[in-house]
């Protein structure tokens, strides 16, 4: 894999890891908006949550070590890393906001409030990150 590919992969791991970290620390533990378990949780929802929760923190660890590896090899391509980061972060958040929260009804963003503004903000932020990631990806591709 080239410096570009490895940088993008490392960035994607870091992005997924950060999204999972913020989700767990801010929304589960600090704000207590997300619930650990929702009575509506389906079996598929639990399996999806288990896989993505484990993958989230594994991605965080992998992202940090891949970044260190790219730095010491001198092969870190910053725009490619940032494109991977935005794609990973936006992709994970969009998956969480649409598939896990809505389709599988694992848990909602917040309880006892009108969910519409929360869901729209959540998923718009995700799409915004994805768009920035795509723009960076196209630009780094064109420059090569």
């Amino acid at each position: 894999m080239t410096g570009h590919g490895r940088s993008r992969l490392g960035g994607a791991f870091a992005g997924v890891g950060l999204a999972a970290f913020v989700d767990e620390v801010v929304f589960h533990q600090l704000l207590h908006w997300h619930h650990f378990y929702d009575k509506a949780s389906s079996e598929a929802g639990l399996v999806s949550d288990g896989i993505f929760h484990a993958f989230g923190w594994a991605a965080m660890v992998a992202g940090v070590f891949l970044f260190a590896d790219l730095r010491r090899r001198g092969s870190l391509v910053k725009p490619a890393w940032w494109s991977g980061f935005c794609l990973g972060l936006g992709g994970f958040q969009l998956y969480d906001g649409t598939f896990q929260h809505k389709a599988l009804e694992l848990h909602q963003i917040r309880y006892d409030v009108d969910l519409t503004p929360y869901d729209w903000t959540w998923n718009s932020v995700a799409v915004l990150f994805l768009l920035v990631g795509v723009v960076l990806l196209v630009r780094t591709r064109r420059r090569r």
Partner: protein, 293 residues
């Protein structure tokens, strides 16, 4: 019965410390963190084994409700103690200090085919995971109630399958075949995901045939979920650090070869690489940068 096992664990700790002292006395390096980790693992094991299912014998934890207490003991025995035992590398220590006969026998054992199968990461992960599902999703837990001998066997099984899994993931002892980093990471990921799913499902429904209070189930299952995360992250960091360090060694080898070739070409003397582990000096870096396509 439990007392005998606890005495055996204490004897193992004493044996480990004695061997480490002998090794250091003869001038070999053996980090102090290892005996400390091994003894901490021993202490956790004894705590987990002597804990009655309805709470730990330690005063601050005595008030734990039954399922939460059980889960605390399970975390100590199945995850935390195995990690502490494995990072202390007891097999390596034994191989360095045992007399020749027993040393050969031990080496033959750890390099044997059955050991290789047990330590194959997918097998070890499956064994560890299946044990948990059988324990919590079949009437096993209900049958174990008030049968201390059977409970002890289950505890020992949890401890052993935990050690096997941790060793398979970290692969720090001499083994017949060391699986690749990718396979070990995949086994860790799969086992962690399954652990999380089981923990979350216990939040809603307890083990069949048991009647724990809902609040107890909720605390216990969250303890299992987040406790599993902590040990899983620790394993992932150790595994990633192994990968990083071995990459650094490969880079230094390449740099040395490159330096030697360059020195031959210019006729200058080769000096050994004195860079810190995992670090490449700026003068070496351009040569190592992969060509862009």
């Amino acid at each position: 019965m439990t007392a005998a096992v606890c005495v055996a664990v204490a004897a193992c700790c004493l044996g480990y410390v004695a061997a480490a002292v002998r090794l250091r006395a003869r001038g070999d390096a053996w980090p102090l963190a290892r005996p400390l980790a091994f003894c901490a693992g021993g202490a956790l094991t004894v705590t987990g084994l002597t804990a009655p299912w309805n709470g730990l014998p330690l005063a601050p934890l005595r008030e734990l409700p039954p399922f939460t207490g059980h889960m605390a003991a399970h975390l100590a025995l199945g995850m935390a103690a195995p990690l502490l035992f494995v990072v202390a590398r007891p097999v390596t220590l034994a191989l360095r200090t045992l007399p020749l006969g027993p040393r050969r026998a031990l080496l033959a054992l750890v390099r044997s085919r059955p050991a290789a199968l047990l330590l194959w990461p997918p097998f070890a992960a499956l064994a560890h995971t299946v044990s948990l599902w059988v324990l919590y999703r079949t009437p096993t837990a209900a049958h174990l109630h008030h049968r201390s001998e059977a409970q002890l066997l289950v505890s020992l099984h949890l401890l052993l399958s935990g050690i096997l899994f941790t060793l398979a993931v970290l692969a720090v002892e001499p083994m017949r075949h060391r699986a690749g980093t990718g396979l070990r990471a995949a086994a860790l990921l799969a086992a962690s995901a399954t652990h999380g799913v089981l923990a979350k499902s216990l939040y809603a429904t307890g083990p069949p045939g048991t009647s724990y209070a809902p609040a107890d189930l909720r605390t216990g299952s969250q303890l299992m979920y987040y406790g599993g995360d902590i040990v899983g992250i620790a394993l992932a960091v150790l595994l990633a650090h192994q990968w990083y360090a071995s990459g650094g060694r490969a880079l230094r080898r390449r740099a040395r070869r490159h330096g030697a070739a360059g020195a031959r070409a210019t006729g200058s003397r080769v000096t050994g690489s004195r860079t810190a582990p995992g670090r490449i000096t700026p003068s070496q870096a351009p040569a190592l940068r992969p060509a862009r396509d």
